[in-house]
């Protein structure tokens, strides 16, 4: 959200006080909240129609649909907030099929007592993210739970999009010999969030990489329509996502540690906290797997886009019935990069 958006939200807010149970009861308070907050900021014809659903004619092509629940804590973090994240997260899930996202739906679970001014900030940020991405929020729902039964606000977004003909991107299409690419530095989102957690706040300049990737994906698909796999390495980081792809495609993946882009601040924070940056979450990254002869063209297309300036070729797909992800360490040894067990626990000495 820009400073102007925020200033506007504060000056024009008709909402004061906090969320109470009546906001979710379906009566006048609910209607006012929807009108003064959601319709006002998300503003589009389908929402203004005031129906329980959005009605539209899909363009030609195959439809894709995806949904994503957002429960991030803290709600506002360096480089983003739960609102923008909820827009980006679902747009990205739709885009990973090589699709053009069309519309979003949003469901809010609000906790009784949550300040309406804070909610408005989040909604304004969501509206800005949706406008910037050109993907309107056309329908939604709001529920309220008793104080102590939620954590401020949870947001679930659902998106639909259209896959152009001739594009066939899926997790089971990685083939031995394929190249593995990434659009930039890893671990920024997870470290930005951790830096603001109450029990371990530390000073860092790291901002979340939260971003809508569909325009980057469109440029990539245009350059190489035959991309085999696209996936965003969110929770569980690069390691978890590559393991998923390896299992789906029944192949192995070999990473070259020295080629993987990381920001020095992220590496330093990981050292301090005992985390492995390969497992730290991202919200604006895409892993691309394509035939080796297309790798240079794809890399050039990624680097020509603002969200892919630091794109890199980080590994390759190999034949391996065990579906292991292995890494040549910068140190000169090799190791397996396994699934993440539980949450990543820090070492203590």
């Amino acid at each position: 959200m820009t400073a102007m958006d925020r200033g506007l939200a504060e000056r024009t807010s008709r909402l004061s006080g906090a969320v109470d149970m009546s906001h979710g009861a379906g009566g006048r308070a609910t209607a006012e909240l929807v009108r003064d907050l959601f319709v006002r900021h998300f503003d589009n014809a389908m929402l203004r129609a005031g129906n329980d659903q959005a009605l539209f004619m899909p363009p030609a092509g195959r439809l894709v649909m995806s949904t994503d629940a957002h429960v991030v804590s803290p709600l506002v973090f360096p480089g983003g907030d739960i609102g923008a994240l909820a827009v980006h997260g679902t747009i990205n899930d739709v885009a990973m099929a090589g699709a053009r996202p069309l519309y979003l739906a949003a469901a809010f679970i609000l906790e009784e007592g949550f300040r309406l001014a804070d909610l408005e900030q989040i909604v304004v940020s969501m509206a800005a993210a949706s406008r910037e991405a050109g993907v309107p929020i056309v329908t939604g729902d709001t529920k309220v739970v008793e104080k102590g039964k939620g954590d401020g606000v949870f947001i679930t977004t659902t998106g639909v999009g259209i896959v152009p003909d001739g594009v066939d991107i899926a997790g089971d299409r990685a083939r031995p010999g394929d190249a593995v690419l990434i659009n930039g530095s890893l671990g920024d989102h997870g470290i930005a969030i951790l830096s603001k957690r109450e029990n371990l706040a530390f000073e860092t300049e790291i901002c979340s990489d939260s971003a809508a990737l569909h325009t980057l994906v469109a440029a990539m698909v245009e350059a190489v329509p035959g991309i085999h796999v696209l996936r965003d390495p969110t929770r569980g980081g690069l390691a978890a996502t590559l393991n998923e792809i390896a299992r789906q495609s029944r192949v192995g993946i070999r990473l070259n540690e020295a080629a993987i882009p990381f920001k020095p601040d992220v590496l330093a924070a990981c050292e301090l906290l005992g985390l492995d940056p390969l497992y730290v979450a991202n919200e604006g990254k895409v892993i691309a797997i394509c035939a080796p002869e297309h790798a240079d063209r794809l890399l050039a297309a990624m680097r020509a886009h603002p969200l892919g300036r630091d794109a890199a070729l980080i590994g390759s797909v190999v034949a391996d019935d065990n579906a292991f992800v292995q890494m040549q360490t910068a140190f000169g040894g090799s190791r397996i990069v396994d699934w993440l067990a539980g949450e990543q626990l820090p070492r203590i000495c």
Binding site: N199, T329, G332, G333, I336, G342, R347, I348
Partner: protein, 386 residues
Amino acid sequence: MKYIDEFRARDLAHGLAAAIAREAAPSRAYHIMEFCGGHTHAIFRYGVHDLMPSNVRFVHGPGCPVCVLPIGRIDNALELAETHGAIVCSYGDMMRVPASKRRSLLKARAEGADVRMIYSTLDALKIARENPSRQVVLFAIGFETTTPPTAVALKQAAAERLENFSVFCNHVLTPAAIQHILDSPEVREIGSVPIDGFLGPSHVSSVIGSRPYEFFAEEFQRPVVIAGFEPVDVMQATLMVIRQLNEGRYEVENEYARVVTRDGNTKAQALVADVFELRPSFEWRGLGHVPYSALRIKDAYANLDAERRFGVETKPSRDAKSCECPSILRGAKKPTDCKLFGTVCTPENPIGSCMVSSEGACAAYWTYGRFRQESGAGKGAREAAE
């Protein structure tokens, strides 16, 4: 990262690998116990194995703080949270360590117990200040590295008269454990666990210094080289142990001179001595009862001792049947010798403590897939030597 990257440098590693390959006598084997889980972790994470000739073998020691804690002590901590309703605070690694009946602090939390993960003992004090009507217990674990911060918390709590705060002390001592291992029949008489030398602890030694190891280097005639936790440190120290063995020396040498001195951190030692005293005996998972191997809280701070405040009783520690953690912690078995390893016992569903912490040998084996790539072992060393 400055001061980190240098110690993970590929060129240095290859130079050291070549020196080790050149100097390790092909006619014999070198069994080097790395005491600390931090070393175990570095060896696996960076693939140090790949750079070693096949006759230089690492024997993984018991120096993983959460691994050596007997089940009974974790049961005690669960009881503090569940029966006494206390807020139990501990470090992240402790949360998933299995207690009796395959419970853990994490599972107890899911069932309603108030268990908090902290990064610093001072976080526990903060929680105590913020919850004056609740009992707050710091479940204190670890070797000499984590002991001074616990001492600070005790002194601070006493100064603030923080009456709802107490410490459940489980701090253990490294030299006593090393001596116990060297004294065990497996090493001394039967010889089923060959240990030719040690990579000495790094962080522990920054507190206690290198002096405490001098006795058993001499007594048991084993070289000890104190090593940092970075992979180049491990390789340099390994070369130093090999050289001592080749020359028939058994001395304490210090590879980690950028941090460790002979006397250590005397201020931290004084702080610990102020607050803690030796326990006559303490049970370790894997090693059994080891005399004078752990600390308890002195009488002067008795009112902050959770054991006394809540009448904590010693519980029997029955390890899961077939779990080989005890033998693995002694270096007598490898993780792959355990029939539970990777079948019933995985990091997602750990049966034994060694599968939990990244410093545990089983977790390191599993996570970095050593056992899955054995065929490639020694390849890097051969290349480096050529």
